[in-house]
Symmetry: C2
Subunit: 417 residues, 2 copies
């Protein structure tokens, strides 16, 4: 059962009949990113509070009636979503904030939130009869696509910029992808993938272009809502690169608002690195988006020309949220803090959301009596080289108690009382 | 509610009153590993098929009445267990085996099965009033301990041999552990940790010594059983280092047999690397266990002197299972195969179980009409350097379609029909 009503172009606002093989607005070209609109009247009769209670498996597929895919193949898919939402044990006290929740998306099959979009991409490709899917990606979108395509027996051709971290690259290769390492930045990589997809007729999983993928990403918001029993926090913080994830988060909450399951969309905090902050720059200067440099360790959000600016800007604006930028040092410090305070090891772009929350508290954007959900988008194990920058290497000790004692007692370790 | 009856020494067979602070048999010393025995008569009245149906959260804590811990702190713990059990999409066909299931333990909070044991360790340490926990580990036991201790506000002192892979080491440091890198092998590391734990009075999480930890590990078997609706496969394959994990798997199935929820314990396939195979050597030669060299890429099972030999040997023997050794090349080949056939990226010690299954099929230990569950103990992202050995690095391409075409067409990529 599908409640899809139509497409709407985010640029010219015209509506279009839904057709799974149309990717962008025919009038606006590839900048005319499409949004899928649903018949919420009809959906509401089917998806109510009882619908959720009746679902057994806690994966993204419990939201099938709210998604633009057919049910046929989902039993063979890996388990996507159903990731934990943790109430903070220690961060709340450290940051003097009433309530902090952390959504740990690093526990998805390929260890990032992108699995939600890639799961949809693989299913759409199968529906349309493709045998090869392609995308350009700084990492997580690619590894998640490679993962789910492998599981479902599809081939993948992945374009990565040469700076992609080794953990992410190995993942692609282990999943059996044909990896094209592009001697250039993300822009060059994206453009080459576009040319190749056009030339070879592969299925296109470039998130901004493909309107189905935001629908996959929205399931993270649906899960957060369900996990909080539909009583959301004042803020939801997430890092932003291309803009598709924050657009997906907004869309999920928007759906729930239309279904009358929530009363208000939380304020979205869009977090970028000062080394690559086109959205923040545009927001602060009240000017149109301009190409920015790509100079941050948070490779997943190092996107100088975001491909989904309209949806992302609207997400923050319509939710009465805010944009904020933090430095790479703040990211590394937050990585260590989240690990040692909560036992959650996030990748730079994941913990960037925590760094953003801390900055927003400092600048009084987030108030002491407000509540916050942090979306931790990916696992720290994906990027060991940057994790290493966040910590100090241990000293090597000879296996003798006397040598050890010097180290332990120097460092002031106490005996157990 | 606890159904603990008593301890039994696995060496001298004497029983002992249960006391959470006793670690090993007072008569046998530290080789006298204790086993926790339950009052199954009483447990059976409480834990039946309906008990499982009534549990909501799919985590290891659903098995509380079968575990030796108090309930007080489990709500603050990270979500351990509840990992997916996948029916193979492609491996069954590739290996000509009737049914293959894969239990993906890499999706635990710190990305390995060891979280199940460390969760118990942290709770026991809190129950006994310790503020510091210590262990020696080749990696996963340590990172899981560091993870859960951080979450619960305990300090950790971790002893690692200098060969520990960088991904695992970073994880420890991010979680805020005091890491002691020992200039020696696993044996030296273990011995130094023992001396230090004794000297400083820290809580001891060395798996073989601490009888509670096998009880945590057994939950992987309980979950597999529940996920298969208590109709188990003929075989369950798992890699073996110290011997605690396979002992835990056996204990889980043993509990279910006592509860009359299963009719038979599956045959356990203990898998080791040819570079470190003390159990396999003893099995083949029908001789007592001897110290073996430690020469394999699968660092989690590179244990020359296993600390839990009795329970591990009995697990395989009593289940009518078998021991098998595979080479590092077979491990790397299995890593690539599991990734590209099923979209699951396992660490060397994890995919070793698949390599073992393939070897057991070849040598007719496992028959074509039999069914198999493979326990994938840890995530491949933990060990990027070894993953790199399993794949070929991609060639760098200039961002021009002509350059790309050469590569794609050389490699014989077809156009989409």
């Amino acid at each position: 059962m599908s409640f899809i009503k139509q497409y709407r172009c985010t640029l010219c606002n015209q509506t279009l009949d839904y057709d799974k093989d149309i990717m962008t607005c025919p009038s606006c070209g590839e900048k005319g990113i499409l949004d899928i609109e649903y018949d919420y009247e009809a959906m509401r009769k089917f998806v109510d509070i009882n619908y959720f209670k009746q679902q057994e498996e806690f994966t993204m597929w419990r939201y099938m009636p709210m998604l633009p895919v057919e049910k046929t193949h989902i039993d063979q898919m890996l388990k996507i979503g159903g990731t934990p939402l943790y109430r903070s044990n220690n961060l709340e006290k450290e940051l003097h904030i009433k309530k902090i929740y952390i959504k740990d998306e690093g526990l998805n099959p390929s260890a990032s939130l992108k699995d939600r979009a890639s799961g949809i991409a693989v299913l759409k490709a199968i529906e349309s009869g493709y045998d090869t899917i392609s995308c350009s990606s700084t990492g997580n979108a690619a590894s998640s696509l490679a993962c789910h395509a492998a599981r479902m027996g599809l081939k993948t051709v992945i374009f990565v910029p040469k700076r992609a971290p080794v953990g992410k690259l190995n993942q692609l290769l282990i999943y059996g992808s044909k990896v094209i390492s592009v001697d250039g930045d993300y822009k060059d990589t994206f453009n080459l993938s576009k040319l190749a997809i056009n030339e070879y007729g592969w299925y296109n999983r470039n998130a901004a272009i493909n309107p189905h993928l935001v629908e996959g990403k929205k399931t993270v918001a649906l899960e957060i809502a369900e996990q909080l029993k539909f009583r959301l926090t004042d803020w939801v913080a997430v890092s932003v690169g291309d803009g598709c994830t924050i657009a997906g988060v907004y869309k999920g909450f928007y759906d729930l608002l239309q279904l009358k399951l929530i009363k208000k969309i939380p304020k979205l905090l869009g977090v970028q690195s000062t080394g690559c902050s086109p959205f923040v720059d545009a927001y602060i200067n009240s000017k149109p988006l301009k190409e920015a440099m790509e100079n941050t360790i948070a490779d997943s959000i190092s996107v100088g020309i975001p491909r989904n600016p309209v949806k992302a800007i609207q997400a923050v604006k319509k939710s009465s949220g805010a944009w904020i930028a933090i430095t790479d040092e703040q990211i590394l410090q937050s990585m260590k803090q989240l690990g040692s305070s909560e036992g959650i090891f996030g990748e730079p772009a994941g913990v960037a959301a925590l760094a953003g929350v801390k900055e927003a508290i400092k600048t009084k954007i987030i108030k002491e009596n407000e509540t916050v959900t942090i979306i931790m988008t990916g696992n720290g194990l994906k990027d060991p080289l940057n994790a290493q920058k966040a910590v100090k290497a241990p000293t090597l000790v000879k296996p003798r108690l006397e040598d050890l004692k010097q180290i332990i007692e120097e460092k002031g370790e106490k005996r157990h009382a």
